[in-house]
């Protein structure tokens, strides 16, 4: 049935393409999102993300760990899931040694085994591939080291973003990162915590995904 459906649909589309005509005139102008100067990218990303209740904190290469520790302590977070081999893994483990009640849970097994743990942790920490200033967006390409659900299941998502990886627009990000040549199994654009306005258009945060998104921008 299936292969017949396929050939019948394609046959119909072929003949429809002949009778339906198909000249599409070239565009006179094409649209590109407004450019953003490199010096203004961090600020714009911060502004846009704060508009959708994202906490954006600035840090340096040598002190993001301290800031992260403070953020976790101020929320009394005790369990954190992360990718053990992520670039910040060592820093995270070092931080915990000084600053103890925290339990770090590496996402090291398949979800079938890790599921119950993951659904019960308080926060997930991930790196990012970059950011997009125009819309206040994080770019994540989850992989074996940092799986897809780290940024979705825990009620708090903390993302580390390098300031020099903030692109002006989605178009620029796609071009410079080489999207298309080799798409990862999953790519994500994340612009804020989970939200809904399905009841009376009243905006509420944290419906299925994280209730809080915290971005640490490392300059």
């Amino acid at each position: 049935m299936n292969s017949n459906a396929r050939s019948r649909i394609l046959d119909r589309l072929q003949s429809a393409s002949r009778s339906g005509g198909g000249y599409v005139p070239e565009l006179e102008r094409s649209w590109h999102a407004a450019p953003v100067k490199p010096s203004e990218r961090v600020e714009l990303l911060k502004q846009r993300m704060e508009l959708v209740r994202t906490e954006v904190r600035m840090a340096r290469q040598d002190n993001w760990g301290v800031l992260l520790g403070e953020l976790l302590a101020s929320r009394r977070i005790q369990t954190v899931a992360y990718g053990a081999e992520a670039w910040f893994g060592d820093g995270l483990r070092r931080m915990v040694r000084n600053d103890n009640p925290l339990e770090l849970l590496p996402y090291a097994a398949d979800i079938e085994e890790f599921r119950d743990t993951l659904f019960n942790v308080e926060a997930g920490i991930t790196g990012t591939r970059g950011g997009i200033a125009e819309n206040g967006t994080l770019i994540l390409w989850p992989d074996a080291v940092e799986p897809r659900l780290l940024s979705l299941v825990p009620p708090i998502h903390i993302a580390l973003l390098r300031a020099d990886a903030i692109y002006a627009t989605l178009e620029e990000a796609m071009r410079e990162m080489g999207w298309g040549a080799e798409m990862p199994s999953n790519a994500l654009l994340i612009s804020g915590p989970s939200k809904t306005a399905d009841i009376e258009m009243t905006l509420a945060f944290g419906v299925h995904g994280p209730k809080e998104l915290i971005v640490i921008v490392i300059e």
């Binding site: 429809a16 599409v24 565009l27 804020g192 258009m201 995904g209």
Partner: protein
């Protein structure tokens, strides 16, 4: 109007107009959505350039549709996504059921998919002993109440918080509350357990990129990501018009989709799925299936005018701007897709006999075309469908064309033609109307007209006559 139709749009519309609460709920939500859309596109010139580009991308994709679908299939297969083709709703439903059965699965969690509504998938699966659970908050609410969505983006737009609190209380046994945050929290708690234990997840597709074999899904809640990531099997449903050529087409399409739909610059999540879980990866579905549904779409492509229907990206902004939809809400349309887009889509999907009346549910004010992000000429297609209903059967291309043709109406227009082409007859008719016009009984179409309008008064003398008697006084 065709008498054999089982769907009585006028009765539905009258009932909706009498429902003050529903009208107030819809009105306040849509007023808000229109204002937000306007705010997110502050530069009208830029919006025009963007719309033209989006239209261009979609039209060019339609010109190359068969070839792009084959490319999409090839790329998806290379990436490990299993592609299925369904000519009809029944075939689509059967494919989903077969996949569920192959895994011995009885629990399905669903992200938002209008194609699944079009297929009536939930009812079909329930008949076969499968729980199909909607997880988008709006869809979850109306599923609890056994209703179809009344808006393609905001499914529960016709309900207010008190009504939703009542639904939760009645169906879930929670204490009655009307606090939106708390209602959301209830849904979150229930659905997280469902996500955790689901066997198969289902989603729609906003854009399918042929160049890379990538499915693009846009959402705010995270339920779509849950459905496509947690369960071991993911089934994506798409109408065959969702394919686009390349990733480069996306930036304006995404900006227009989210801006037009909800007035946002961007949604919380844009999810690009190109393959199931790869070797070494720790999560994501082990199997991804893509079901490509035709269900009448291929025949729209065959007509140079009707094919524009397939440009639609389902943003719902034509609903929000339609003076008819705003007043009667979505259920009155009795159709999967309501509003202006539904009025051009449903008659083509279900035939003019069943849904041709929807093409008349418009004042042809043109607002829908003006706001459409891909510039679909909706009013022109509405007129075309009206014509197809009334022209002799066999001269049109849409199912049941000619079904509303009435000999009385044909005769009336014939008479009108004679009247206007014979000066003597015309002059006689004018004198007759001037004298006896006020006596015309309000029956038939005249009654329908005068029900809500004052009956016209005919002048005793025609303009021509006056001019002849008095001369032209003003140069």
């Amino acid at each position: 109007m065709p008498k054999h139709s089982t769907f009585d749009f006028k009765a539905h519309a009258r009932a909706a107009l009498a429902d003050g609460l529903m009208r107030a709920n819809v009105r306040s939500a849509l007023d808000g959505l229109r204002a937000k859309r306007l705010a997110v596109f502050p530069d009208a010139d830029e919006l025009e350039v963007m719309r033209k580009q989006a239209e261009f991308s979609k039209r060019r994709a339609l010109v190359r549709l068969p070839e792009l679908l084959e490319q999409l299939e090839r790329k998806c297969s290379e990436n490990g996504i299993i592609v299925h083709w369904a000519e009809t709703k029944e075939e689509g439903n059967a494919i989903v059921l077969d996949i569920m059965r192959a895994h011995g699965a009885t629990r399905l969690v669903k992200g938002k998919s209008m194609v699944s509504e079009e297929m009536h998938l939930n009812a079909f699966l329930q008949e076969h002993g499968i729980e199909a659970l909607e997880t988008d908050l709006g869809e979850f609410i109306i599923q609890l109440n056994n209703e179809p969505p009344s808006h393609i983006i905001v499914p529960a737009v016709h309900k207010n918080r008190q009504q939703i609190g009542k639904i939760f209380h009645d169906r879930l046994g929670t204490p009655f509350i009307e606090d939106v945050e708390k209602l959301n929290a209830i849904a979150r708690t229930i659905l997280r357990e469902k996500f955790r234990n689901a066997e198969v997840g289902l989603s729609g597709v906003n854009f399918a990129v042929a160049e890379t074999g990538t499915l693009v899904l846009v959402e705010n809640e995270g339920n779509g990501r849950m459905c496509t990531t947690v369960p071991p099997v993911h089934i994506a449903l798409m109408g065959l018009e969702k394919v686009i050529e390349k990733l480069d087409d996306l930036p304006p399409l995404l900006r227009l989709l989210t801006g037009s739909a909800t007035g946002q610059r961007v949604t919380t999540y844009v999810n690009f799925i190109s393959s199931p879980r790869k070797e070494g990866e720790k999560d994501g579905p082990r199997e991804v299936h893509l079901v490509i549904l035709d269900n009448g779409r291929s025949s729209m492509l065959a007509d140079h005018e009707l094919r524009h229907t397939l440009q639609c990206i389902r943003c719902g902004t034509c609903l929000n701007h339609c003076p008819v939809y705003v007043r009667i809400g979505g259920h009155a349309y009795g159709s999967t897709y309501p509003g202006p887009i539904g009025s051009i889509l449903m008659p083509q999907l279900d035939g003019l006999k069943e849904k041709g009346e929807l093409a008349v549910a418009s004042s042809l004010c043109g607002a829908c075309e003006e706001v459409c992000p891909v510039r679909i000429p909706i009013p022109a297609i509405l007129r075309r469908l009206r014509e197809e209903s009334n022209e002799p059967a066999g001269t049109g291309v849409v199912l049941d064309n000619g079904c509303s043709r009435s000999m009385l109406e044909v005769a009336a227009w014939k008479g009108w033609q004679m009247l206007n082409t014979s000066p003597r007859l015309y002059a006689f008719a004018l004198r007759f109307l001037g004298r006896f016009g006020h006596l015309l009984p309000a029956v038939g179409p005249l009654k329908a007209w005068t029900n809500v309008r004052t009956k016209p008064h005919f002048a005793r003398k025609s303009l021509q006559q006056l001019a002849r008697e008095e001369g032209v006084r003003h140069e």
